[in-house]
């Protein structure tokens, strides 16, 4: 890993100022970034740790009933503290990586990185979450823009994520056994005005909504409503772990299982 200057601001304002520097990079829990630095896939001149900003940590309920999670909240904390507020989200958090990874990795880091196989993007997209940054609020539908690509501008920091709480929801992933990332994962969330289905791990374009399944499930929230529906393999990832056709098949299987788990 190339060397860098390390700064750990105590407030969001100080962090935003530090991020304005050339080649500055925000550091959440580092569970992806540190391996990337080791592999020299990233070489910032300044690393701005977000771990010292107390206002960015914690889980609470917003005025509108949504579950609000500070950007620097670890997966382990979400698994515990959101368990009563949004059980499917807490369960997703409890399944990321392993216990030691969950004690460091953060929701803001995961969403800012937008790994195509990460779990959190599916929850944010299926919940129609709002990604709050130090400068604006971004709807999940506008936020995810492709593999490792988001609507975030350079230097912008994810400070909070607000999840409208669904009536029913579940996340089911098929784990790639070595990395434990989702080979494919599906988050299904049923709201009063419709069902949203978000798929991670499968597409070359990163997390996406499976709209045909949403339409069918919005009419009838049951696994049998999905009979005859299959996701297209076009644009799906093919790698040594699975072909595009295999992943497309998993989308259907996991969506059905998620609906069964949520119902």
């Amino acid at each position: 890993m190339y060397n860098f200057d390390f700064v750990k601001p105590k407030t969001l304002a100080e962090a935003a100022a530090a991020m304005a520097g050339d080649e500055a990079q925000a550091l959440g829990g580092g569970q992806t970034l540190i391996p990337s630095l080791k592999a020299r896939l990233a070489s910032p001149t300044t690393l701005v740790s977000l771990g010292g900003i107390k206002e960015m940590v914690g889980v609470c309920t917003g005025d509108d009933g949504s579950t609000c999670i500070g950007g620097a909240t670890t997966h382990g904390a979400v698994a515990k503290d959101a368990a009563k507020l949004y059980p499917a989200l807490a369960k997703l958090a409890a399944g990321i990586g392993d216990p030691a990874v969950r004690n460091r990795g953060t929701i803001g880091g995961s969403l800012a990185n937008n790994d195509p196989a990460a779990c959190y993007p599916s929850a944010a997209l299926a919940s129609g979450a709002t990604i709050v940054t130090n400068t604006r609020k971004i709807a999940a539908d506008d936020y995810f823009q492709g593999m490792f690509t988001t609507a975030l501008d350079a230097g912008e920091i994810v400070t909070e994520v607000r999840f409208p709480v669904p009536e029913k929801a579940a996340y089911i992933k098929f784990e790639q056994p070595a990395s434990r990332f989702a080979l494919t994962g599906v988050f299904v969330a049923k709201y009063k005005d419709g069902v949203r289905v978000a798929v991670t791990g499968a597409s070359e374009g990163g997390v996406f909504r499976w709209k045909e399944a949403e339409a069918a499930l919005s009419k009838d929230f049951s696994a049998k409503a999905l009979a005859g529906l299959s996701a297209s393999a076009d644009g799906m990832i093919t790698d040594l772990h699975g072909t595009a056709a295999y992943r497309a098949h998993l989308v259907g299987v996991l969506t059905r299982r998620a609906v069964e788990a949520a119902a």
Partner: protein, 160 residues
């Protein structure tokens, strides 16, 4: 830059670079070589230590991030009189280590598990330890040691 942290109850300081990993600070600066580096990619868990009471992979945390923190390593696990702690003794009694390389991480993860869940089921032990890899594949006896350390009957778990 200078960092100061409490390591196994004692205040320790040292100079680090921004890129210095916590595990390198522990091993190279403080000479606490009980914490091992296995994969260096946060997969294997040989480097697990406790940071402010939580299990963390010290190969994937910067030393600078641990400034001011309470760190516990495997060197801090023995009892005050130098005898092995319950967990360590259970690993010895149940042959929970073969080559021993993964053992420091296994012991630290076990301590974190039993703090959270003092009487885990066998399935819970296996699930919790999924981030700790034993390349001797000695999992049965590791699980047995963890169950024994939690004070549970291990006579029904697979034979040694």
């Amino acid at each position: 830059m200078k960092v100061t942290m409490t390591v196994n109850g004692a205040s320790r300081s040292g100079e680090v670079e921004g890129r210095t990993l916590l595990v390198n600070f522990l091993r190279d600066t403080l000479h606490l070589t009980g914490t091992h580096v296995g994969c260096d990619t946060s997969q294997c868990g040989a480097c697990v230590v406790h940071v402010n009471g939580q299990a963390v992979k010290s190969c994937t945390m910067l030393a600078a991030e641990a400034d001011g923190a309470e760190i516990k390593t495997v060197e801090g696990m023995a009892n005050g009189d130098g005898s092995l702690s319950t967990i360590q003794q259970a690993f010895q009694d149940h042959h929970g280590l073969q080559c021993g390389f993964c053992t420091p991480g296994m012991v630290m993860s076990t301590a974190a598990l039993l703090k959270e869940n003092p009487k885990p089921t066998e399935a819970e032990v296996r699930h919790y330890l999924e981030g700790n890899i034993c390349r001797c594949t000695g999992y049965h006896n590791i699980v047995k040691a963890v169950m024994a350390a939690s004070g549970q009957d291990v006579s029904t778990i697979a034979a040694e």
